[in-house]
């Protein structure tokens, strides 16, 4: 274990510089360089030990920060890997741009995870968000991409403004930008108002219902490897911010947010699951199912306890593998069939049995079925909520799981029950296959042996309360 507070951030910065230089000289190896760099940084993050706070308490490298940084880096590594050798021409031509933007956003997340000061927090938040708008509109000649990008940008800016506005109240009420001081400050209406406004803004970022409308369009229009990453990493960043601002160090006052989180969780699960039902485009389906997944994580938030927080962290890990994997399989099928419709999956089990099995595992994981990661994730958040006596929320969540299984099973039905239109195998590039394999390993490993990650999550979440 090594203790180096800024190692990862500096590493990403250096990587960006290297990508830039190599990109200027010649395009080819940029993707490989960035991917390899992020893999190395992921390995470094796994060896990292907490090193306390720095910069006068603005920046903290505690267990929570390291936990989520590992999640960000792992997600980014898989996302970048899957994009290697993509036949997408825009990606190939503007590879440097793509990787630089993605790394910039990653840098924002890494800083965000450690930010213990409102100004740094907001700065990191924007560093994370702005590249996302650009990347969503990466296929700039397609009107859908531009529309989605603009929508995302407008909604995102407004939510950033709302967060900034809320945080200004917080500063006004407490006279400090340090989150440590804010947590200790006496409760006041102004402080609550500020935090509520910031919560609404953050709900946009994690795409909770009814702040979700940018999600489906953005997912449909963006380049698939990016979308796979977009669907998980920024969400994790949003949750860390929530923990930092609303839970860390406030003690019993964390329970104040439980009803709001419970309400948000209920409508998000309901909205996401119900809107996913009529979807026929798998990317949109996954977008809405992703919204529902956020709802399940908010169930853990409603518990407002150390175990609830830990279970969200575990959920995020499970979600990274399950959701990214599902998006990557969609990408593989879409490349081969030229369509993202559910019908493109018809008979996949007979054409490419392994790809179909991977997709089935991801869907089951998202659906919360035993022996894959998602089951434990759902179970643990429900558990945390039950501990707090929120049985009604658990029941709502559990019943909506059944709704979710309906649309997941529709994809499974296409793959396994319906006959294929043609028998040829679906071609998969080695990089994509490898990244799908990584996701499968993650989903199965966590499904069989969740204990290590759960314990780690509990360890890092307990000091918050």
């Amino acid at each position: 274990m090594i203790a180096a507070p800024y190692l990862l951030e500096l590493g990403v910065g250096a990587l960006m510089l290297a990508v830039f230089v190599v990109g200027v000289l010649g395009r080819r190896p940029v993707g490989i360089l960035a991917t390899a760099g992020v893999f190395v940084l992921t390995a470094a993050a796994l060896a990292l030990a907490p090193s306390g706070s720095a910069l006068g308490g603005m920046f903290v490298q505690d267990g929570l920060a390291i936990f989520v940084k590992r999640v960000f880096l792992a997600a980014t590594a898989i996302g970048l890997l899957s994009g290697l050798g993509s036949p997408d021409r825009a990606m190939a031509r503007r590879s440097t741009e793509y990787h630089l933007l993605l790394l910039a956003s990653l840098l924002g997340m890494l800083v965000l995870a450690s930010a213990r000061d409102l100004i740094l927090l907001f700065l990191a938040f924007e560093l994370m968000s702005i590249p996302l708008y650009v990347l969503t509109g990466f296929a700039k000649r397609e009107p859908e991409a531009v529309e989605a990008s603009l929508k995302f940008f407008l909604v995102g800016s407004v939510s950033s403004a709302v967060i900034a506005y809320g945080l200004s109240f917080v500063y006004g009420a407490t006279g400090s930008t340090s989150l440590g001081a804010i947590a200790k400050a006496p409760a006041s209406p102004l402080l609550t108002l500020g935090l509520v406004a910031a919560l609404a803004g953050l709900a946009f970022k994690i795409a909770a219902f009814p702040f979700h409308m940018w999600v489906p369009d953005a997912y449909e229009a963006g380049p698939a490897p990016f979308v796979a990453w977009l669907s998980v990493a920024p969400k994790a960043a949003g949750f860390v911010t929530l923990f930092r601002v609303y839970f860390e160090g406030v003690g019993d006052r964390a329970a104040v947010w439980a009803p709001a989180a419970a309400a948000l969780a209920t409508v998000t699960m309901l909205g996401g699951n119900l809107m996913a039902l009529p979807q026929t485009n798998t990317k949109r389906l996954l977008a809405y199912s992703g919204i529902a997944q956020i709802g399940y994580m908010l169930v853990g938030m409603a518990a407002a306890s150390a175990s609830g927080t830990a279970m969200i962290l575990f959920y995020l890990v499970a979600y990274v593998f399950g959701n990214m994997g599902a998006f990557l399989v969609v990408e593989a099928v879409a490349r081969s069939e030229g369509s993202e419709a559910t019908s493109a999956f018809r008979g996949l089990a007979q054409r490419s049995p392994l790809l179909a099995l991977s997709m089935l595992l991801f869907l089951l994981s998202l659906g919360g079925i035993p022996f894959v990661a998602g089951f434990w994730a759902k179970l643990y958040v429900f558990w945390a909520a039950a501990e707090r006596g929120l049985y009604w929320l658990v029941l709502v969540g559990a019943v909506l799981t059944v709704v979710a299984l309906f649309y997941y099973l529709l994809v499974a039905r296409s793959m396994y029950i319906e006959a294929p239109a043609r028998m040829s195998r679906v071609p998969v590039t080695p990089a994509l296959a490898l990244s799908v394999l990584l996701c499968v390993l993650g989903v199965v490993f966590l499904g069989v042996y969740p204990k290590a990650v759960v314990m780690a999550a509990l360890r890092v979440a307990t000091p918050l309360f």
Binding site: F371, A386, L395, R413
Partner: protein, 511 residues
């Protein structure tokens, strides 16, 4: 070290499934042999457990063949197995049905490797539910028993050939009612909907007991607040009851059973529905005695509706498989009714009925599968006179039918008479009326079907049909034999069952 015999029984089919997936890719015969051998081992072991179960010590020792292995110690999750008089009978039933089922579906041609692998994985789930004493592991096995069903019905099932008319025709076009895909989805969603309730119930007990243990034994020792007991019992009743086919949540069952391939219908109607009833008795009544007493009127009342409604629905069907499927709904009503009486006779009758009906309906579905395979029809009034060309199948069908309507000398009779006695001794004597009426109606629809298909005038279209062959005989002989054997010697089953129901009742009736 003692041999973990229950684990062997439960996991043997799973080993078979793995072997089939990895070794028998090109050989259909090897697939079947592996399936037959692994389920055969489980069957032999469960017979041995049944014989070796210590009936005299059972009242004092509780669960036998106990195994325990810590899985997640901080959360109190253990891999904890054990059997009592009720569960050994259920394990035996599972073994009989799956062993017969492997032979009855010997002729599955398409993708048979995956079919058998899924079927065997599912059986592991069923065994697991019956033997696990840890509520959490119980739940895991429960899910394992439900999920493969989706693919089994969706891929290998058959869509109903009798198209609905009138307003139902419109509903058919809109939703695909009656098609196998519809049935598979409906069944899966209904059962998972049920499991959501079960999960909440388990959590509630875990939190309320405060012992940080999911063990059935620890939860049994804890005492719960009556208000909590009431709603948790209701949650378990709804959750498990859906699987047991309680009215009005039974509608997945006729569709599912009618659309499923033979072995799956056998297993589902024969064993999985019992799993629901077993859950209500073991978990609901066992852990929540006062909740069970308070809500017995509801359980019994709904069961009465089940009995009569199921029988009337069966009378109205023209598709042979639907007749049998609805008869399951009706008989599951008797199972639940027996349990709701909260009397020794009723509870014994209920458990015995689970067994008797499991074997009987397994036999029915095996026969329907054979008839369909030979005549390519399930429509009752298009068939006739099969008794001449397939005497073996006809005889077996008649025996199953007689057991179904409770003829003395078959195990159906023992189960029904016990249930009636229980109903008479319970607080709600009027339950006897629908129960007996149900038996009468059963006679009407069973005899009608038997007469039309097997004993009516022979039809010239069906002269070329053959009787059951080779492996299929194995299935029929086993099932008919068990049905008759337990009819004449009910004590073989009732003695061990009694060792489990008496302590259960004493817990329920003495608060």
């Amino acid at each position: 070290m003692r041999v973990p015999i229950l684990s062997l029984i439960a996991w043997m089919p799973f080993v078979g499934a793995l072997l089939i997936m990895f070794t028998a890719r090109r050989s259909p015969l090897a697939v079947r042999l592996i399936a037959a051998i692994t389920t055969g081992i489980s069957t032999v072991l469960s017979l041995w457990v049944y014989a070796a179960y210590d009936r005299d010590a059972a009242l004092t020792t509780g669960f036998q063949f106990y195994e325990k292995l810590a899985l997640v110690p901080p959360l109190g999750i253990n891999y904890e197995l054990g059997v009592d008089g009720i569960s050994i009978l259920m394990v035996l039933l599972t073994s009989i049905i799956i062993f017969a089922g492997v032979f009855a579906s010997w002729t599955v041609a398409t993708r048979s490797q995956e079919f058998y692998a899924l079927l065997l994985a599912l059986v592991t789930g069923v065994y697991g539910v019956f033997v696990s004493l840890d509520m959490f592991v119980f739940f895991l096995f429960y899910e394992l028993a439900v999920l493969p069903m989706y693919l089994l019905i969706g891929i290998w099932g058959s869509s109903g050939e009798v198209r609905p008319r009138g307003i139902f025709a419109w509903a058919y076009r809109e939703t695909g009612v009656g098609s196998k895909e519809y049935a598979a989805m409906k069944l899966t969603l209904y059962l998972l909907f049920g499991s959501a309730f079960i999960l909440v119930g388990i959590f509630a007990l875990y939190v309320a007991a405060g012992t940080a243990s999911f063990s059935f034994l620890d939860l049994e020792a804890a005492s719960f607040d009556p208000a909590l007991q009431r709603w948790v019992f209701l949650a378990f009743y709804v959750g498990f009851g859906i699987l047991a086919g309680i009215w009005p949540l039974h509608t997945w069952s006729p569709d599912g059973h009618a659309s499923a391939p033979t072995a799956v219908s056998m297993l589902h109607a024969g064993v999985l529905m019992k799993l629901g009833a077993y859950g209500v008795v073991r978990v609901g009544m066992g852990l929540l005695p006062s909740g069970a007493t308070e809500l017995a009127w509801l359980v019994g009342g709904i069961a009465c509706i089940n009995v009569v409604y199921g029988a009337l629905s069966a009378m109205a069907q023209v598709d042979l498989k639907y007749v049998i499927a609805y008869s399951s709904v009706s008989h599951m009503g008797l199972v639940m009714l027996g349990a709701a009486t909260l009397t020794e006779a009723g509870l014994n009758g209920s458990v015995f009925q689970m067994f008797a009906h499991g074997v009987m309906t397994g036999l029915f579905f095996a026969l329907v599968g054979l008839v369909y395979e030979k005549a390519h029809s399930r429509e009752i009034f298009r068939m006739g006179g099969f008794g001449r060309v397939m005497p073996g199948i006809a005889t077996a069908f008649t025996i199953a039918g007689l057991s179904s309507l409770g003829l003395p000398g078959t195990s159906g009779f023992v189960a029904e008479i016990l249930t009636f006695m229980g109903a008479w001794r319970s607080d709600h004597r009027w339950w006897l009326v629908p129960a007996v009426a149900g038996t009468f109606l059963t006679a009407v629809y069973v005899l009608r079907v038997a007469k039309q298909i097997f004993w009516g005038p022979p039809s010239p279209h069906f002269h070329h049909l053959e009787d059951a062959r080779g492996p299929e005989w194995v299935a029929l002989v086993i099932l008919v034999g068990v049905l008759v054997l337990f009819g004449f010697l009910p004590g073989v089953a009732l003695v061990p069952v009694d060792t489990a129901t008496v302590p259960l009742l004493s817990r329920i009736l003495q608060p």
